[in-house]
Amino acid sequence: MTDVLTGPVLSRQPLVGVDVIDAHAHVGGYSRFFTPDPTPEAMVRVMDRCGVRLAVLSATHAIELDVRRGNEETAAAVRRYPDRLRGYIVLNPHQDLEAELARWADEPGMIGIKLHPDLHGYPLDGGRYAPVWEYAERTGMPVLTHTWSGSDVDDPALLASVFERHPEVRVLAGHSGAVADGFPRVIELATRYPNLYLEICGSFFTGRWLARMVGELGAHRVIYGSDFPFIDLRYSIGRVLFAELPLADRRMVLGTAFRALVDKEDL
């Protein structure tokens, strides 16, 4: 039995009438592996192929090397495709964090903040991130952070002390900790902290885990993201489309949940 989400895949047609927002995207190449075409043009083409309306991205240049140049690349992509792309401001505690935040705070299309404690070698609960949490709490801007269960710097459990200090900040746990044996712990963490949202891209995620997250937290706490062009968008989206969940829950994960976190005029 197909429906409005699975039928288009099986007939090789894009989704129609479904608002899909990819809340975890990048743009640009990456030093550690080859990506055939990581340009904004190719990304929008893939989005069209599948029927994804909007992607929120951060430049790989910003996360792996230089936030200033990388955030400029993000902003350029957003300006080029204002109907299809939005940006995260990448902040690095080793690279003028407060100046970079001030530089982009009023830029149209930059609708969130992205942290990468792993690549930046700095713990998620460290003091240098304090201006980020204060700003995000004050403005309501969502923060997407890379997380990896078992990591010294970005195990999702480190968010507990962030929420104790900044209970109003809204955080998307990128990859939901990434590895399967950590998913139960991040679900439990989200039951304690209502402003923690689980973003689900990654190599080890499945529709089965999605159903469990939605069952325990509600679909409004689970956010679709793909990580493309790190990982092809079409791997992660199928897990949501074909998950054994009611249609309303899958729609919520695909876009409605993220829309609720961002001002309407920004999307």
Partner: protein, 252 residues
Amino acid sequence: MTTTNGVELLDVNAMVGRLPAEDVGDGSVAELCKTMDRFAIGSALVAHSAAWRHDPATGNRLLLDEIAGEPRLMPCWVGLPDTCGEVAPPAEFVEAATRAGVRAVRLYPGDHGFRFSGPDVAPLLDAIARAELPLILDLDQASWADIEQVAASRPRLQIVVCGLGYRVLRELAGVLDRATNVHVDLSYLGSHLGLEWLVERFGVHRVLFGTGMPVRDPADAVSRLLWSELDDENVRMIGAGTAGRLLGWTGW
């Protein structure tokens, strides 16, 4: 069974049987077939988890028992070097496999403790090549260097490398260029636009549809293939055409 677009899907990378540390269902043939139906997957090459995670000889027997009477499933045995006498000598193993209708052989050199390009498993690889049985191998079980060495020394042996990830193209491209008998499956060919790039560069017959279920979600490979930028003819070749030829499958 085909997709609504008439594409047949033959999964070269599926498994039945329980798993100890992953919550992936009961491992039954009935559950596998139900999942295949959900994704319009018509047929599958399957191994048994007991042959991987317990004992190949036992698991291979269980596989034949459990899939008997399910014409959509083709058996894939797990092989071992016969250095300790745990399995029959290569010629006997391959003869028994062929007699039982086995369509391919899997090896787990990493998990089972032997070197893929070493002398212990070489006679088995030679026998598999002579019998024209494809060899299925997960990338976490052997290095690209070992895979290339085995492929180069046995041009008749068709090797399907599964579970690639998204960081492999630099090494993979070199191996595919030099070793024309190496193929890859789609279970996690995760590079952005990597499928289209590989098909354009190396030809459509180098990529086969495989899901990696039950550990991996079959939605990954299904969505990746059917929503690719490839035309229907190429999608059909990846979906089942090339695999059907390699496996001698004429089940439709």
